[in-house]
Symmetry: D3
Amino acid sequence: MPLTDLPLDALVDFRPNVAEPADFDEFWARTLAESRAAGGSVVVTPVATPFTDLIVEDLTFPGFAGEPVKGWITRPLRSESERLPVVVEYLGYNGGRGLPGERLQWAAAGYVHVLMDTRGQGSGWGTGGDTPDPHGSGPAVAGFMTRGISSPDTYFYRRVFTDAARLIDALSEIPSADTDRIAVTGGSQGGGISLAAAGLSPAVRAVLPDVPFLCHFRRSAALTPKAPFTEITQYLATHRDTEDTVFTTLSYFDGVNFARRISAPALFSVGLMDDVVLPSSVYAAYNALTVEDREIVAYSYNGHEGGQLRQWTRQAEWLPPRLG
Amino acid sequence: MPLTDLPLDALVDFRPNVAEPADFDEFWARTLAESRAAGGSVVVTPVATPFTDLIVEDLTFPGFAGEPVKGWITRPLRSESERLPVVVEYLGYNGGRGLPGERLQWAAAGYVHVLMDTRGQGSGWGTGGDTPDPHGSGPAVAGFMTRGISSPDTYFYRRVFTDAARLIDALSEIPSADTDRIAVTGGSQGGGISLAAAGLSPAVRAVLPDVPFLCHFRRSAALTPKAPFTEITQYLATHRDTEDTVFTTLSYFDGVNFARRISAPALFSVGLMDDVVLPSSVYAAYNALTVEDREIVAYSYNGHEGGQLRQWTRQAEWLPPRLG
Amino acid sequence: MPLTDLPLDALVDFRPNVAEPADFDEFWARTLAESRAAGGSVVVTPVATPFTDLIVEDLTFPGFAGEPVKGWITRPLRSESERLPVVVEYLGYNGGRGLPGERLQWAAAGYVHVLMDTRGQGSGWGTGGDTPDPHGSGPAVAGFMTRGISSPDTYFYRRVFTDAARLIDALSEIPSADTDRIAVTGGSQGGGISLAAAGLSPAVRAVLPDVPFLCHFRRSAALTPKAPFTEITQYLATHRDTEDTVFTTLSYFDGVNFARRISAPALFSVGLMDDVVLPSSVYAAYNALTVEDREIVAYSYNGHEGGQLRQWTRQAEWLPPRLG
Amino acid sequence: MPLTDLPLDALVDFRPNVAEPADFDEFWARTLAESRAAGGSVVVTPVATPFTDLIVEDLTFPGFAGEPVKGWITRPLRSESERLPVVVEYLGYNGGRGLPGERLQWAAAGYVHVLMDTRGQGSGWGTGGDTPDPHGSGPAVAGFMTRGISSPDTYFYRRVFTDAARLIDALSEIPSADTDRIAVTGGSQGGGISLAAAGLSPAVRAVLPDVPFLCHFRRSAALTPKAPFTEITQYLATHRDTEDTVFTTLSYFDGVNFARRISAPALFSVGLMDDVVLPSSVYAAYNALTVEDREIVAYSYNGHEGGQLRQWTRQAEWLPPRLG
Amino acid sequence: MPLTDLPLDALVDFRPNVAEPADFDEFWARTLAESRAAGGSVVVTPVATPFTDLIVEDLTFPGFAGEPVKGWITRPLRSESERLPVVVEYLGYNGGRGLPGERLQWAAAGYVHVLMDTRGQGSGWGTGGDTPDPHGSGPAVAGFMTRGISSPDTYFYRRVFTDAARLIDALSEIPSADTDRIAVTGGSQGGGISLAAAGLSPAVRAVLPDVPFLCHFRRSAALTPKAPFTEITQYLATHRDTEDTVFTTLSYFDGVNFARRISAPALFSVGLMDDVVLPSSVYAAYNALTVEDREIVAYSYNGHEGGQLRQWTRQAEWLPPRLG
Amino acid sequence: MPLTDLPLDALVDFRPNVAEPADFDEFWARTLAESRAAGGSVVVTPVATPFTDLIVEDLTFPGFAGEPVKGWITRPLRSESERLPVVVEYLGYNGGRGLPGERLQWAAAGYVHVLMDTRGQGSGWGTGGDTPDPHGSGPAVAGFMTRGISSPDTYFYRRVFTDAARLIDALSEIPSADTDRIAVTGGSQGGGISLAAAGLSPAVRAVLPDVPFLCHFRRSAALTPKAPFTEITQYLATHRDTEDTVFTTLSYFDGVNFARRISAPALFSVGLMDDVVLPSSVYAAYNALTVEDREIVAYSYNGHEGGQLRQWTRQAEWLPPRLG
C-alpha cells in the first residue's frame, strides 16, 4: 500500500525517452485504411432490459478487418428527440461489455454513452463479453499482452485499437449521437485504449483516461510488480532473445507515442500507490501531451482503483465546457 | 477458488439448530419503541450533481436514539409527478453511501432508490460515508463486529438494524415514495441488514438479499476463513472466557432468527465458492423462511461477488409482480 | 503440503460417473479424417547443437488442419544404422519444446525420443516454443483452457489432441523410428495429451502418463485450488449461464473418456498432495482403463512434481517388456 | 526481511521537517486541565493470583474526562516496607493489560511496575483488556488509527495520551511508589505513548521507548507497508479530500513533536528491518530530542520485534543511574 | 483461522492406532543407561542480572552422551533457605534459553524454575541459545525434524529427550530443588519433550504440556499444513522410498507412546484452530494416557498460541494439590 | 518479478569493498593440507541404470577430513577408449546427486561429467542425496547457512568447499578423465562452490558459475528478500551480538575473495530479477576477477532460474576453445 514509484515532484517532471518507430503514423494510417476498406455495417437494435427511464441498445459495428464488434448504447429518454454529446468508454483488462446496465452515470448525466466490448476478452470479471477475436497467435504467455507480439502487424492491440478508432467512425450512424461532441474515456486498459483512439481519430474532442495502462512499456516491464505488465516480463523470461523484437512491436502501441499526437483537451488521473500501472508510466504519457488544455488528478493514497466516482464527478464537471 | 462448504444438495436441506433468545421479539419491540420515542425529523434536500436525467437528493432521517443518519434518494424525473415504488438498499461492510451516483440501476428501472449510509463505517472502500456512530465500546477487535458485544443493548448492529427499520418509517415522509410498494435489498452486510429490516418492518413487501452476511454466527465464526467473521474469532481468541456471552448477544442479531419472522416474498442469492460468507450460513437463513413465495439463485462458480448485474437483472424481473 | 483429496483407499475405488457424449467417437473420427485430408509433409532436418554423442533433429509435421507443428527428435548415435523404439513426449501446460537438449533420458536409454511442441504455448517456463496456433477465439479467460470453449469444434484442445495423433501418423516417415514400438508419455498436460493420443491412435503400444491433467473436468473445476483448472472456474464465474455448454464441450476432451478407449498397457503416476491436478481426477481416468496390464504409482508425500526421475526410472524398467 | 528504509548512516542524520501546530502546547494544557478537573479516584485493590513472591494489585485511575482506566501494579515483596522507583509501561497496538503476570521483569528487578490498559483495545492479542472507550466516532477505518480523526478534539489518541499523563498523576496515590523516581516505557504503540507521557508530564525522569510507533505520521502513511499506519492510508484512499484535515489532526499527536518537549534522559531502540514502524520515523523522533543524555540502540537485523529481552537488559542497566 | 481438524466431539473420542515398536522400552532404557554411564557433572553458577528480587543461576548438566547442556534456574529469594517444588520447562521449536529473565512466572509463584536449552537450536526466535549439538547427520531437510532420521539411534530427538530425562536426574544436585515435587511443562516442542520426560522419568510428579508437538507423526505428516511437521513431508517427498524407515524411527519418539507410559497427573491444552499442531494429534496423546487424574483445556478459537497466560494461570491452580 | 537491484549500468561497475581476512590463503592451505593428509580412496563402481547409450558410474571420494563423499560420473560410450575433458558440477542449495540420469547434457556433449553430492543436503528437492555430514554444530537456524558459523574452522562450507577441491584431486584416479582439461560449473550454491573450487585448485582450467550464491555476504544478508541468505539474517536477529564474528567467519568463504584468486577463464550468468541471489552480489564477484578472459551473460527478465538451457548452450560453445 505504500508509494510504488518516484515521489510526486519527480513524477511531475518525468519525461523519459520513449522510442518511437519512424513509420508509426504510416503503420496506423495503413492499418486504419485497410480496416475501413473492409467495410461492414453498423447495427443498432433495441434490447429488452429492466430500464424504464433510460434507453439501452445493442450495438454491432465493423472493427479491425471489418469484423463485428459489440457494444452497448445507453442514453436518456430525451435523446429520442435530440442529438446529445457522446462519451465512448473502453474497458479494463479482460472485462467485457457485460449485461446492459453496468455503467449508467454518463447516460444519467445527459450523454449518449457507448461502451465498447473488447474482442477476445470479457471473461476476467463482471458479467461477460460477447466479441470473439478471430485471430490466432504465435507462442504466447497465457494472457493478451503477448499475443502476436513478434510483429506489430499481428499484435493483439493492433486489432483492439483499430476497433476503438472504427467505433468513432461508427458514431455517425447512431442517430442519437452528436458527432461534433465526442469524448473518449476508460480506466486502466480502457485509459490506454482511449489514448489510442484520441491519437488516431481527429473527431475526438476530449480524452479522459483514468490510471491509463499500456504506456512506457519498457520501464513498466522492468519495474511493475503485478500483472498484466508482468506478462511481457514472463514472455521475455522465456523467449530470452526477443527483447528487441518485443519492444519494437510495443513501440507502435505505446500510449506515450499516442499522447504526442493528441490534440484534444485531456483530463488524466493517477494513483500514487498503484502497483498495476506505475505512476511514472502515466506521467510519461501525460507529460508527452502537447495540448495546453490538460490536467492530471493525482490520488496520493490510492492504488489502481484511482479516484473512482470522485474522479468521475470531476470528469463530469470538466467535460461540458470542452464539448461546447 | 474451489467450493468452500457443503455440496449443493446438502445445502438445500441444511436446517441447523440456531439458538433464539426467548425475549427476541421483546428486545426488538423495546428497542424500536425507544428509538421511535426519541423523535427526530426527516430532511430531504436537493443536491447539485452532474445528473440531468435522474434526480438525486440528500436524505437525513432519525435512526437509533433519534440520531441523524444519512442517505441518498435517487429517482427518475417522472417521480416529480407520480409516486413510485421504493427500493431501499443497505451497504456492504465498511462501505459508505459515497458520492451521489454510485448505484443508479434501480432509479433507471423506475424506482425511488434509497441508499442508507452505515453509521461509523464508510471508510473501507468507495468514496466514503457521512454518518458518525456516537457510541463508545468496551474492548474490541479493530473492526465493527465486536463493538459492544458484551450485551445486546450495546452491540453495534443494534444501532444499525434500528437505523434500517427507522428508515422504513421515514419513507412516509418522502413525497416521491409509494409506501405500499417497499422492497429492501443489499449485498453481504447489506443483505444481512435487509433481513433485519424485513423481519422488523411489516411495511416491507419484498426482500432481496444477496450473499447475505450476519447469519448463523456460531458456525460462521468456527469455519469462515476470511474477514469479517474472523473478527469474532479473534475476539474469542483473546477474550477466552466470553464465548457464551458473545453468542448470546449475537443470537439477537442472527439473520436466521429474522428470516423466521419475515412474511414478505424473498429472493436470495448465494455463491458456492464464497469464502467470506459461507453458503451454509445463507441457506441456514433461507431455509428458515416460512413464506412460500421464495427463491434462491445459487452461483456455482462464484465467490463473494455472487451474481453481480446478472442477479440484479433477475431481481428487476422478479420484483414488479411482488410489488403489484 | 498436506493431502489434497480423498484418502488413498477411497481413491483406489473412485469410479465417478463422467459424462460421455454419444457422438464422441464420431467427433474424433471426423476430426482426424479432416486433418489427415489436409495433408502436409513431415520434414526432419539436422540441427547444429553441442551434442556429440547423441543426435538431435528438428521436426516439422502436419497437425490439425495440416498446420505445421514443431518437435525435436533426439536419438542415440547407433540409430543411424538401426530402427529403435520410439517414445513420444508431450509437454506440460504452457511449456514449449525449448532448445535442443532439455530431455535426454529416453535417447540415452536407447529410444528415439520425439518431443512435440504445444501450439500457441511455449511461453510459461523453460526456453520457449516455436509453434503458432493460427486460430482465434471467442471471449476467454487469459489462458488456454477456455479458448473456443463454446463448442467442441473450436476448443483449443481439439487442435492439440489432433496434433498429438497426427504426430503418431508422422512417425512412419522418420527413418530411425520403429513404428511397431511406440510409447507415449508426458507429465501434467503432457499426461493428458498422452491419454488422448493413446485413445485415438491404435499404433500406440504403451502409455505412461505422469500426474495427468485434463481428467474429470467437472470435479476438477469445482474443487481444484490452483491453476490451470481454475481458468474454467473463472470463466464460469463470469459467463454464468454457460455451465452446460462448457461441460458438454469438455466431455469431448476428458481423459476419462479417452482412458475407456485405450487398449495399450498403461503406467500412471499420481501425487497425493497434488493441488494442481487432484488425485481423484487421476484415479478417475486410471480406474476407467479396461486394459488389464496397468499400474499406478502413488507418491504419498509429493505434490504436482510427482515422482520425477524416480518415476522415469520405473518407466524405463516397465517399458521394454511392453514394447517387445 | 531486508532493510526497510534508509541506510544507517543516513538515518543517524535524518531530521525531517515535521509540522507542529502553533497551539500544540495550549491544546494539551487545555486537554489535561479539563480531564484533571473531571476528578475521579485512584483505587488499588489486592488481587488473588498464583504469585507468592511478587505482589500484583488491580489499579483503577481516572483518565480522560475522569473515566476509569484499568492497570496492574506488580511489585516486590519488600515494597510493602519501602517506596521503590516506578516504571510505567504502555501497551502495543490493540493489546490489553491481560491477566496478572504477563510482564514481571521490572518488578523482579526491584521496581513498582505499573501497566496501563489501553482503552477500547485489548482484543488483538494476549489475554484481553478491561477498559472501555465510551466515545463514538465519525466514519472510520476498522481500527483505532482513524477514530475521530476529523478533529484533534475527537481523535482517539487524545484520550489515550491523556490517560497516560493522568496515570503519572495517579502515582502519587500509590503507597509503594517513589514519585521522585518515575520512568516510562513501552514497545511500539507503547513507545509512542511513552513519548507523549514524557512530553506532557514533568514528573517523568526517564523515557525508554522501544521501536516507538506514532511518529512522523506523514512519511509513515506514505511509505509503511504494513498495518497499522496503513489504516491512515486506507482512510485517505476513501476520504480523498481530507488529507489536510487528517494531517493537521495528527500533528497534535506526533511523537516528533512530543520528543522536542522531553527533558528527561532517553533510551530508544529501533529495528532496521522493521516494516511496521519505519526506522526513519523512529530517528525523526530521536533526533528531535533536545536532551543531551540520550542513546539509541539500533538492531540491524531485527524487524518490529526489536531487541526483545536484550534491550530490556540494556534498559535495566541504563535506568538506575538516571533515577538516582 | 477456522477449525483445522475434526469437530470437538470427534476429537474427544479420537483414539487412533499409533504404531509402537516392540523394543520401545528397551531402546530407551539402553539410551538412558549409556548416557548416565557417560557421567559428567552438574554446575550451577551465579549470574549477574538486573534482578534483585528473584535469583537466576546458570546451569550446566550432562545430557546425552554426557555432553554439557545449558539451562537457567530462576527462583525466589526465600529458596536460599528452603527447598521449593520444581517446574522444569522445555522450549518450543528452535528457541533457546535466551537471556536470563524470559520466563519469570513460575519463580514468582514460588517454584524453582529450570529452563532447559535445546541443543543445536536457539536461533529461530528470542534471544538465542547456548548449547551445541556435536552430532552430524545424513542428508536432511533444512531443519531439525529429519536430522539422523534413518535410525532411532541417530535421530535428533533421541539426544534431546535424553537431555530432558538427564535434567530430571540433575535436579538432585540443585540445592534449592525439592526433588519430591517435580513437574514438567512446555509449549509445542516443549510440550512434546515434557511428555517424553514424564514417560522416561518416574521422578516426575506432574506433566503440563501445552499444544504438544511431536505426537502421532504419521497423521501429522499427512495433514498438517504448516511447519515444522512439513519438514518430514518434504523429506519423504525427496527420499521417496524411505517412508517405512522414517516412520519406524519416529515411532520411538511419538508422544502417544510416551503418554501410554506416564503415571503422573496430566494437564493438557489444545487450540482447535491450531494449524501447526493438529488438535487430533494432541488428543491422540491425551486419550492414550492411562492415568485417571487428567484434564485437557480446549481453546476453541485459538491457534498454536493456545491459552497463553490463561492456561498458565490454570496450571498454577492445578499444580499445587498434585505436588502436595 | 521486477528488477531487484541496481540498474544494469551501475551493476557493471559495482566493485564494493569486501573484507578479506589476512590469513585467507593460510587458512585454506592448512585446511586442504589437513584433509589431504587424512587420505582415503577413490572408488568408482558401475551402476545398473536404464541407460544404454551413456555410461553412469557411482563415485566415492575422500572429502573433508577424508570423509567419503558421493557423486555420479556420466560419460559417453567412447570414453571407454579415450580420455575426455571433464566438467565437474556442484549442486544448488539442499539438492542431492539424486538418481543416476538427472543431468545428461555434458556427457551427451562429449565430456566426462562428474556431479558432486553436497554433504548433509540432498533433501530439499529432486530425488535425494546420499552423503552424510558427520559434524555437529552450535546453535543454528534451521538450515545450512549458519551451521558452525561461530568460527571458520567449524563452518559448514569449510567442509563443502574442501570436498569440492578434493574432488578435483580425485579426478586423477578416474580413468576416463583428461585432467588437463577440467572445468567446474554449477548453479546458485553450485556456482558459489565452483568459484571456491576454481580459487583453490590450480588444475581447474575454466569456471562457469550460474547465478552464483555465497558472494558478498554482508550486502546479501542486509538486502536479499528470500531464503537462504535470510538464514544469516535470522541468526543475527536472534544472536544480536555476533555480527562481527559472523561476518569474520563468512569472509573466509565469500565468493568475491575466491574470485580474486581465480586464474582460469570464466563465464558467469546473472538474472536481473533474481530475488534469491541479488545481481549486485554476482557482479561483486565477477568484477573481482583479475583474469582477462571473462564474460558475464545478464538475463534482464529472469529471476533465479537464470538462462537455463540457453546458458548451457552458451557454455557448451564457450568451453571447447578454453579447454584446448
